[in-house]
């Protein structure tokens, strides 16, 4: 596999950084939502929000990188349906990577708990305070998270299929290190 068939270095770095952050933020969100009110919960919620906004910013950069530097072509052996699934899956992941943090930000605004990034920068409220709307947005945020979790699972399974069944070396396109010569 030639290096030209790999994603660009910024795309690879962003992929893994965002992947790590998404998993950590997802698990944190899941754990925090069940906690009773406490100072610790306030802290975890703040960290969860900071991580979410960081993901949103990184995803924007990543989209820009992708638009400037096209990803390598899909392996030639993939048929039409597989190509459709691959592109559809990636499109869904990109949409969700924007929608999940945005709905989190929206629900924070609606609850009347603005986002103050890293305790320093207060982000503008996207909607006015409204507890009912907040509850709806919370449900949307959670539902989108589970859809994203399903998409991520599909993404990982597809990568494993390429590596183990197709043995097409596709994993190297996104690995932090290239294949051994």
């Amino acid at each position: 596999m030639k290096s030209s068939e790999r994603y660009s270095s910024p795309a690879i770095a962003l992929h893994w950084l965002i992947a790590g952050l998404i998993i950590a933020t997802f698990i944190a969100g899941l754990l925090v939502s069940g906690l009773p009110l406490s100072p610790a919960k306030f802290k975890y919620i703040a960290w969860h929000k900071w991580a979410g906004i960081t993901i949103l910013a990184l995803v924007a950069v990543r989209l820009l990188v992708r638009l400037l530097k096209r990803p390598p072509a899909l392996p030639a052996h993939m048929n039409g349906l597989e190509r459709l699934l691959a592109h559809g899956g990636h499109l869904a992941l990109y949409l969700l990577m924007f929608a999940v943090p945005l709905t989190g930000w929206l629900m924070s605004s609606a609850y009347g708990f603005p986002v103050v990034l890293f305790k320093l920068v207060q982000l503008p409220d996207l909607v006015a305070q409204n507890e009912q709307l907040a509850a709806t947005l919370k449900t949307v945020h959670e539902t989108l998270n589970w859809i994203m979790a399903a998409c991520v699972a599909g993404h990982v399974l597809a990568a494993i299929k390429h590596h183990v069944i197709d043995k097409d070396g596709m994993l190297y396109r996104m690995s932090l290190r290239g294949p051994r010569e």
Binding site: L37, S38, K43, A46, Y111, F113, V116, Q122
Partner: protein, 183 residues
């Protein structure tokens, strides 16, 4: 119009004889903003009552005595309201009301005034001062100001909640009090 303008002047003469006017609670507000990890969170008290006397021509003679129903606290979520009523916070079961009684009002000039008095919350009484402005809105005298208080001075947020790294000690109490003209 001329007659209306004369009313406050006439009032001034009989002010010591008058009972203080109960404030117009529908047009008054007591809001507060606290910071949780620098996130401003605003709430308010829906029920309060009291009497305020304030003649803009002679503000130094003014007086205020306001009681707040602590159980009427409102915060962004029902969960937060439930928490605020507990013993660690306002302990509304034991301390159903908070009270502010003025001791003096100073004219700072330039349309600015300052009230000093005693604020009692959760059984703790502290001296406080707050700058405010006052204006006439029809028959109402509208007073607006901000009173910064230390929540820990009143033991608001005890136990784990005393941690100011999570919930800052300073709370801004914003008040808008509408005082009807006396009879």
């Amino acid at each position: 119009m001329k007659q209306l303008r004369l009313i406050p002047a006439a009032l001034l003469l009989v002010a010591p004889l008058l009972q203080a006017a109960p404030l117009d609670t529908g047009k008054s507000q007591i809001n507060f903003t606290m910071k949780q990890l620098n996130v401003p969170v605003t709430g308010n008290f829906k029920k309060f009552s009291g009497t305020v006397v304030l003649d803009l021509k002679k503000p130094e003679a003014g007086k205020a005595d306001i009681s707040i129903d602590t159980a009427s606290i409102s915060l962004p979520t029902a969960e937060a309201v439930g928490e605020a009523k507990k013993a660690d916070w306002f302990n509304v079961a034991k301390f159903p009301s908070a009270r502010f009684v003025s001791s003096s009002i100073k004219n700072l000039g330039g349309g600015k005034l300052q009230v000093a008095g005693k604020l009692t919350i959760k059984g703790n009484t502290r001296d406080v001062t707050a700058p405010f402005t006052a204006r006439q809105e029809g028959a109402l005298t509208v007073v607006e100001g901000v009173l910064p208080v230390s929540r820990l001075a009143y033991k608001i947020g005890e136990g784990d909640w005393a941690d100011t790294g999570t919930v800052a000690d300073e709370v801004q109490i914003k008040f808008k009090v509408a005082i009807p003209a006396g009879k």
